[in-house]
Symmetry: none
Subunit: 127 residues, 4 copies
Amino acid sequence: MTMEFDNNQPIYLQIMNHMKRQIIVGKLKPGDKIDSVRELAAELQINPNTIQRTFQELEREGIVETRRGLGRYVTSEESTIMSIKKEMAGELLDRFVIGMRELGFESKDIITIVSEAVSEKDKKGSE
Amino acid sequence: MTMEFDNNQPIYLQIMNHMKRQIIVGKLKPGDKIDSVRELAAELQINPNTIQRTFQELEREGIVETRRGLGRYVTSEESTIMSIKKEMAGELLDRFVIGMRELGFESKDIITIVSEAVSEKDKKGSE
Amino acid sequence: MTMEFDNNQPIYLQIMNHMKRQIIVGKLKPGDKIDSVRELAAELQINPNTIQRTFQELEREGIVETRRGLGRYVTSEESTIMSIKKEMAGELLDRFVIGMRELGFESKDIITIVSEAVSEKDKKGSE
Amino acid sequence: MTMEFDNNQPIYLQIMNHMKRQIIVGKLKPGDKIDSVRELAAELQINPNTIQRTFQELEREGIVETRRGLGRYVTSEESTIMSIKKEMAGELLDRFVIGMRELGFESKDIITIVSEAVSEKDKKGSE
DNA sequence: GTGGTCTAGACCACT
DNA sequence: GTGGTCTAGACCACG
C-alpha cells in the first residue's frame, strides 16, 4: 500500500479513512487479517505510534478487532460495516447539502450541479 | 451578529467562512464597511487578535480591503466575490463526489441520494 | 492633481514623495505657491489632517516654506532641491545594490540586469 | 544565527526576508530542516509568536513546508526558490528604475550611476 | 477612532 | 519534541 498525505489533516485520520474505505469497498473483507503496526509503519514510512493511534480508533468504532497474540482482523459483523458506510455517506451528504444551501444554492441548483459533475466524470472515464 | 462555535475548527476559520458566506449571499454588499476588529470582538465575545487573524486571511483572499485609518470594506470587485463563490462550491462538490465514489457509489446512486436529500428538506420546510 | 494610493505606505508619505518629485522634475518651481491644505484635501479626497502632516514633513526637510498669512511656497533655495534629489537617488541606489548583493548577484550581473531593463523600456517607449 | 533589527520594518518581515535570502543564496538548501519556532525564538531573543508569524508567511509563499509533528523544511521545489529569487530581484529592479525615472534620470544616467556604484564597492572590497 | 505588531503565557493535537 | 490556536494586554502609526 502507498498513500499520499495531506498536511491539513492528521495522518492517523487519513490512514483510518483509507482503511475504512478499503473495507467498505470490499478490498478488505470481514475477517481478513490486517497488517501489523510494524509492517504498516514500514510500508507507509510513518511513525509506528501514528499507526497505533489509527488502529486504536478503528477498534473504538468496532470495525477492527484484536485477537490477543494473533493480530488484528476486520470485524466479521457485516452490519457494522454497512452502518459505517451509511454514516460516512451521510456525513458527506450533509456537509455538501448544508454547505451549498449556506452559499445560497436552491434544491434544483444543487441537483443540477451534481448531475453535471458526475456525468462529466463518466464521460472522461469512458474516453 | 451572533455565532455558535464548533470546537473542531479554529474560531478564526469559522468566522472567516461565516463572513464569506454573508458576502456571497449578499447580506454584506460590495463596498460595505465591515465591523471593526474591536466591535466584532466585543460582539462575538472573542479576543480581538483572533478577529484580526480572520480579517488577515480574508484580505489575503482579496474579498476584504483595508483603508488605512478608516477601517475595512468588502471588496468592490464583484468578480472576486463570484470566483470565491465558485471556489467554495467547487470544493464542496469535489469533496462530496470524490468521497462518494471512494465509498463505491456510482453516478446514478449519487444523483438519487442528493435528489432525495434536497426534496426531503423542501418538504420539511413547507410543513 | 490626481493620485493613486498604495495601502502599504502612509498616505502622507506618498503625497510627500509625489510633491518632492514634482519639485525635482521642475513641475513645481522654486518660489511657486502651493495649494492650500483645504484645496489639496478636497482635490485628493483626503483627510485634511493627512495633508497637514505632509506639509509639516516637507517643511521639516526645508523644501517648503510657510509665509504667514500668504500661504506655502516651494523653497527658493535651489541647493536644497538639488540635495534632496541626490538624497532620494542615493537611497534608491543603495536599497537596490545592497538588495541585489544580498540575493547573490555580482557586480557584472547587476549592471547587465539594469542595462537590459532600461533599454527594454526605451524600446517600448519608442514603439 | 544572529540578526540586527531595524525598527522601521516589522520584525517578522525582517526575519522572513533574511530566511528567504539564506535559501536563495544556498545557505539553506532544498529539503533542509529549519530551526523550530522555539529554537529560533530563543536564538534571536524574539517572542515565539513572532517567529510563528514569520513561518506562516513563508509557508504561504510555498518556500517552506510543515510536516506535522516533525517540524518545518525548506521546500524541495527548486523552481519555487528560483521564482522567488526572480520575484525579489524584479521588485528591487522595478522600484529602482521607476524611482529613478520619476526623479528625471534617463536611461544612460541610470546605467552610469549603477556602474559607478558597483565598481566603487568592488574597489573597496579588494583594498 | 482604525488596524498592525509584539509580548507573555497557556492549552491542544500530532508524531 | 513539534506546530497551531487562543487569550490578555500593550504600544504604535495613521487619518
